[in-house]
C-alpha cells in the first residue's frame, strides 16, 4: 500500500526507454501468441457447445415413471 503511493518519487521513464521496453514486451507477447494452441481447448469448447444443445431431461417426469 505504501509502495502504491510512492509513485510520485518514480516519474515516468523517458519515452525512448519506454518504447524500448515496450518493444521487448511486444516481441515476447507476440512470440507467445504464435505458439500453437493445444487441440484440447477447441475440443473443450466443442463439447461445451454440444452439451448445451442437447436438451436436458426433466428430472420430475423421469422420476414419476416409478
Amino acid at each position: 500500500m505504501k509502495r502504491e503511493k510512492s509513485s510520485k518519487t518514480n516519474p515516468a521513464l523517458p519515452p525512448k526507454i519506454q518504447a524500448q521496453i515496450g518493444q521487448q514486451l511486444q516481441n515476447y507477447f507476440s512470440s507467445v501468441m504464435t505458439e500453437p494452441i493445444p487441440d484440447k481447448f477447441v475440443a473443450l469448447l466443442d463439447s461445451l457447445e454440444k452439451k448445451e444443445i442437447t436438451p436436458q431431461v426433466a428430472d420430475d417426469s423421469s422420476e414419476r415413471s416409478k
Binding site: 509513485s7 516519474p11 521513464l13 525512448k16 515476447y28 507477447f29 507467445v32 473443450l44 469448447l45 457447445e49
Partner: protein
C-alpha cells in the same frame, strides 16, 4: 442457434490472445493451460452475462485474471528477488549479446510482482487502454498507471545494459528512476 455457434467461434478466435495472457501472467505453461481450461469453462457457464457489443477479449481476460488472482497465484513460485540476485544474473548474461532473448525477457517479467506484471501486459502487450486495464483489473486508472510505471522501471534495471548504450556514457541506471524528465 447461430448466435450460440458464433459465440463458440468467437471464443476459438480469442484462444491465442487468451493463452498468451495466461502464459505471461502465470509464467508457466502447465499452469497456463489449467488456467485456460478453467477460464473457458467459467466463461461458457456465465456466457449470459457477456454483453454483446462489448469486448469479448476484455471479458475473458477479466475472468482469467480473477481466476488467477484467486487461486493460482498462491501456488505460483514467484521469484523473490529481495537481494537483487536474480536481477543481477539476468543483467550479466545479456551484456555480451547486446540484446535480451525472449527467455531472458520472460524471466525478467517473472520477477515482477503479479499485479505489476498484469498491468504491464494489459497495457503494453494486449493493447488495452489504461481505462480498460483498470476495469479488467478492478482498480483505479491511477493504480494501473503506477503499476505500469513501476514495472517498466523494474524491467529497465534488468534491460539496462542494452539501454545504456543509447543514452551515452553519462547515463546512469539510477537517473532513469529518479531524475525528473526534462
Amino acid at each position: 442457434m447461430t448466435a450460440r455457434a458464433s459465440l463458440k467461434d468467437q471464443l476459438v478466435a480469442e484462444l491465442p490472445a487468451l493463452r498468451a495472457f495466461a502464459i505471461s501472467l502465470s509464467g508457466r505453461h502447465d499452469m497456463a493451460d489449467d488456467l485456460m481450461q478453467e477460464t473457458l469453462m467459467k466463461a461458457w457457464a456465465s456466457r449470459e452475462s457477456f454483453m454483446p457489443g462489448t469486448s469479448l477479449r476484455a471479458w475473458l481476460f477479466t475472468i482469467m485474471r480473477n481466476t488467477f488472482f484467486s487461486h493460482y497465484r498462491k501456488t505460483k513460485r514467484e521469484v523473490q528477488d529481495v537481494d537483487g540476485v536474480a536481477a543481477s544474473n539476468l543483467v550479466s548474461n545479456p551484456a555480451q549479446q547486446g540484446h535480451m532473448d525472449l527467455a531472458d525477457f520472460s524471466a525478467a517479467l517473472d520477477t515482477l510482482p503479479a499485479d505489476q506484471r498484469e498491468a504491464l501486459i494489459l497495457v503494453g502487450a494486449s493493447g488495452f487502454t489504461y481505462e480498460e486495464a483498470a476495469e479488467i483489473a478492478g482498480c483505479a486508472v491511477g493504480t494501473v498507471k503506477s503499476r505500469v510505471n513501476r514495472a517498466r522501471q523494474r524491467l529497465l534495471t534488468l534491460l539496462a545494459v542494452e539501454s545504456l548504450d543509447d543514452f551515452g556514457p553519462d547515463f546512469q541506471i539510477g537517473q532513469a528512476a529518479t531524475a525528473a524528465p526534462e
